[in-house]
């Protein structure tokens, strides 16, 4: 099956920086695959995601993608439904069709009853679910998620991980997910890619074959986590 995301020898350098952030990175993501990009802070994970989104170094063939940021980044003056509609307004879609998409997306994240709430009236987890609904509403080929649960407390974070697994099973979306949390990456993804070094490259890549429902605390998952931790520790020390 052909890849939906194909990155070949990606090199990125910020203006004024002494060296490149990423150099010669290759990555392919298959349709329906969930790939987690793991790495320490500042290694270039978010930069990679922004490059895929075309926000930096825009590519000639821009993919139909949608992004979920670490901070939900909801528009404070719009209610939840209007936030979900944000990406659709640019698409010149008939109003009834757009409304149907908004309703479906809010239902998918379990927020139908919160459609008229303003962002300040929602909890952190609910705001992030609205952000996911906003991204799903534009029916992207790839969902890009930049540490989407990084700002949430531990309990909400675990609940949101469960929500994302359910949403993914329902929609079959291709997901590129950035995190610095090894357990989160292993619990959610089909494949985990560790970025490390300067410039960053792929230091370790593992496929997780365990059933999604039984991953937490599974000995095989704990062993994989230990392997990632060891490589990360070695590379950071170097």
């Amino acid at each position: 099956m052909s890849a939906v995301v194909r990155i070949e020898r990606l090199a990125l350098r910020f203006p004024g920086a002494s060296g490149p952030v990423l150099a010669g990175l290759d990555l392919e993501v298959a349709p329906g695959e969930f790939v987690a990009i793991l790495g320490a802070s500042g290694v270039g994970k978010s930069t990679l995601l922004r490059a895929v989104a075309g926000l930096i170094a825009p590519s000639a063939d821009r993919l139909p993608v949608a992004m979920v940021f670490q901070d939900a980044r909801l528009l404070a003056w719009r209610d939840a439904a209007a936030n979900v509609r944000f990406g659709l307004e640019r698409l010149a879609m008939p109003a009834a069709q757009a409304q149907q998409r908004v309703d479906d997306s809010l239902a998918l994240v379990g927020l139908t009853d919160f459609a008229a709430r303003l962002p300040r009236q929602l909890s952190g987890g609910q705001r992030q679910r609205v952000a996911i609904a906003r991204a799903l509403a534009v029916r992207p080929e790839v969902l890009l998620m930049d540490e989407p649960f990084g700002a949430l407390d531990a309990i909400t974070r675990e609940a949101m991980q469960g929500e994302l697994t359910r949403i993914r099973q329902q929609t079959g979306k291709t997901i590129l997910f950035v995190t610095h949390d090894i357990e989160e990456a292993l619990v959610l993804a089909d494949r985990v890619v560790l970025l490390a070094g300067q410039p960053a490259g792929i230091a370790l890549e593992r496929r997780v074959k365990l059933p999604l429902a039984h991953r937490r605390e599974h000995p095989e998952l704990l062993a994989l986590a230990a392997e990632f931790r060891a490589v990360l520790g070695t590379r950071e020390a170097a």
């Binding site: 989104a53 926000l55 949608a66 992004m67 940021f69 901070d71 980044r73 528009l75 404070a76 003056w77 719009r78 944000f86 990406g87 307004e89 640019r90 698409l91 303003l118 300040r120 906003r134 534009v138």
Partner: protein, 268 residues
């Protein structure tokens, strides 16, 4: 360590104690009454002649006489029309240019010295040119008011747009709103609205100051009536016109605040 339990009503929510009913209404009423009493007493005790400081007790009758004579309504109508026209043009122009300069570094750089040169020139300094260009008529009064509100709106709109979080620009980019114009209505203007509206509100007061200045040189309105009255030492009419301006400003500001609160109710 023991804890002190405060009664709910006394608990400060923003670090300050909540005022009681006496604090909210009683003290302001007392202060106003004391002010009026002193004002009334000064001419009554002969400390100042009533022509220099007309006592407040004669103002209602003076106002009614001005209404009956038709001066008051004519002056209010003229001043309001100058005010609203000048305010609309000055606010729209100031906000539009402020937003454009904030979004376009080229325009910002091109106009930076023009703004530096023109900004410190007070509105009153334009009166000779207003008369030369438009004559002694409403257009020149409107021009002075436009100058009076233009700059405050330009600077607040500029600052408000510059303060929009870069993350919102990135969000708009991520959802396909490429380019500054595409982001203007869905993101930039709503995000900058609190700052822009604060400038508009400041302009509401600035514009009344400009109204009086613009009418002092002969254009019909409250300013002109004040000049006529002061020339005749009818200072009670001057005070009535002053209080009229204060009342009109108060009403317009109140209506604006209600509109602003409605527009910004998302802020909570």
């Amino acid at each position: 360590m023991s804890e002190l339990a405060l009664p709910a009503a006394a608990q400060p929510r923003d670090g300050r104690a909540q005022p009681s009913r006496l604090g909210r209404w009683g003290w302001p009423a007392f202060g106003l009454a004391l002010f009026l009493a002193i004002w009334e007493a000064v001419p009554a005790l002969g400390l100042l002649p009533a022509t220099l400081l007309p006592p407040p007790s004669i103002l209602p009758a003076t106002w009614w006489q001005e209404v009956v004579d038709g001066h008051w309504l004519a002056a209010v109508q003229s001043s309001l029309s100058h005010y609203l026209m000048g305010l609309a043009i000055g606010t729209t122009g100031g906000v539009a240019l402020g937003v454009a300069m904030a979004l376009s570094p080229r325009l910002d750089a091109s106009l930076s010295w023009v703004v530096r040169v023109l900004r410190p020139v007070p509105g009153l300094a334009w009166i000779p040119f207003a008369i030369l260009w438009f004559g002694v008529n409403p257009a020149s009064a409107v021009f002075i008011i436009v100058i009076g509100v233009f700059w405050i709106n330009l600077f607040t709109a500029y600052a408000a747009v510059r303060a929009v979080e870069p993350e919102l620009f990135e969000l708009a980019d991520a959802f396909g709103y490429r380019g500054r114009l595409a982001k203007l209505t869905p993101v930039i203007l709503p995000a900058a609205a609190p700052g822009i509206l604060a400038g508009v509100r400041t302009g509401l007061g600035q514009a009344w100051m400009a109204v009086v200045a613009a009418e002092l040189f002969g254009v019909e309105g409250l300013g002109q009536r004040m000049m006529q009255a002061s020339a005749l030492l009818a200072t009670e009419i001057v005070v009535v016109m002053m209080l009229t301006i204060a009342a009109l400003y108060g009403i317009i500001d109140m209506l604006f605040v209600a509109l602003r609160d409605r527009l910004l109710r998302w802020q909570g």
